[in-house]
């Protein structure tokens, strides 16, 4: 289990155990859990708490790491809160290989920079995309739809317009 000084807060949410650690010590916390048998990173993601009034949040972005011990089976969720523009956190791709793509996805969708990631590039969105779609301040349906009316006016040459 995670050693006492690293833990900021812990609890149970709908039957799932979770632990919050400081954003600087995420690698140490996950390495300790891995040593204890939590060898599978089930998923890694981010939650954007912009304008979330359900409780007082320590920071805007919450990184969530779900780990599983395949022998028991037992699960634990590790959280870390980060802020900043862009927000930074250490990569864990060398501890858990599946984190490689998951971190690229989290960068793509939320703009979280994972320090020391070998290839932090967009994975789902096109390479030249601007913005990070899963941020709460990114509007739904904000881009011009191809072959729509706006698209046509944009495509028409000046003498015809």
């Amino acid at each position: 289990m995670i050693s006492e000084p690293l833990i900021v807060e812990q609890g149970v949410s709908a039957g799932d155990h979770w632990v919050t650690v400081g954003s600087g010590s995420i690698r140490d916390a996950l390495a300790e859990l891995k040593k204890d048998g939590f060898t599978l990173l089930v998923f890694l993601t981010c939650v954007d708490h912009l304008a979330d009034s359900s409780r007082q949040w320590p920071a805007r972005y919450e990184l969530v790491y779900e780990l599983r011990n395949l022998e028991k089976p037992e699960q634990i969720r590790v959280r870390a809160f980060i802020d900043g523009d862009p927000p930074h956190i250490d990569s864990v791709h060398d501890l858990f290989p599946p984190a490689n793509w998951e971190e690229r996805e989290t960068y793509d969708m939320f703009g979280i920079i994972f320090n020391d990631h070998p290839d932090l590039s967009r994975i789902l969105m096109p390479d030249d995309w601007v913005g990070h779609p899963l941020r709460r301040d990114y509007p739904v349906g904000g881009e011009v739809v191809e072959f729509s009316e706006e698209h046509e006016t944009w495509q028409t040459p000046p003498e015809k317009a």
Binding site: L40, V42, H49, L70, D85, P97, W101, S121, L124, L134
Partner: protein
Amino acid sequence: MTDTITQGVTVTKTGEKGAFGGELLTVNFGPHHPSTHGVLRLIVDLDGEQVRSLKPVIGYLHTGIEKQMEALRWQQGVTVTDRHDYLSPPINNLAYALAVEKLMGVVVPPRADALRVIMSELTRLSSHLVWMGTSGLELGAMSMLMYCFRERDTILDMNEEISGFRMHTSYIRPGGVMADATPRFLEMLDRFIHDMPGHVDEYENLLTNNPIWRSRTIGIGRLSAEDAKVLGATGPMLRGSGVAWDLRRSIPYSGYENYDFEIATSDMCDCYGRYLVRIKEMREAVKILRQALDRLPDGPVNVDDRKMLPPPREELETSMEAVIHHFKLFTEGYSVPPGDVYVAVESGRGENGCYVVSDGTHKPRRVKFRSASFVNLQALEQMSLNHMIADMVAIIGTADTVLGDCDR
């Protein structure tokens, strides 16, 4: 902000010396290639015909499902979950429904659980049938597609009978299922369970000892148990490497602990092993279906909670209370207590999970789908290295990725 980030794929080994005296050649495979099961693009460095490095490029089927879920009310989200892994919609529904129910502390009646198991197993069968048909087609067993799609069509007919839709059923919903099974559905299911073992024998006759199929799959795409675990592979990819991990047994849901079935594994660790696992899983799915149908309990198929599910149609004509509930439910929806939860179910491809965060309002704060295809695809390079490019097609096939699931 993006200045420090490398953009796109630039690393290739073109021009490097190969083992056969020639130079390496970088080839773009896909995205529109019939054997990529969707739109998967691979950047492959070839030495002669051998794969020296491989980089999957995904995102061509990205539809922003997770973003859409945030804009929809809790009960509307179900229709979107159907569409990410389009070969197993009811299993996707189930992961979402279980997550929302767990957050709300709702327990569905036993008949709903049994119907959920029936739909999950039918879906597993139909997903494996598509896999077997298309993989057979790619590796030279053309007739497999006809045989497999014949039975898949029976399953789609059953989907239509029970839910009105053939593919995107949205049948499993938070709080229960859409409607009770009709007598005709149970009849169709009974006949299907009776016929299916014979059909599986037929597939085995066509493939298991087929020399072409065997030489195309045995020893191809090896993935050791250790590697599979490290790379986070789940489903037939993991069980095909000899690890008996199945969420239906390890972390049971929807009453799977009450069914008697075996976990299919194979120690061959190659494409053929994964084929054997899927064949065995189809037989086990039929066994589960038989038990579920024989022991199908009577009773309601939905929770009796007017705050979560609409009242029956008849009640609307006599009860003002029912009209109010109906109106509130369809204008505002229900709200889910704040918190977060992760629920995983076993789909035909592996662990299909749903991580839901609620901020106490009538729309989710965040819904994350943990898709098996996305994680399993990362093992593709490990499996394909030093194989012929034609074998890579077999490996992509047996990895059974659905790109809609991968890109969400």
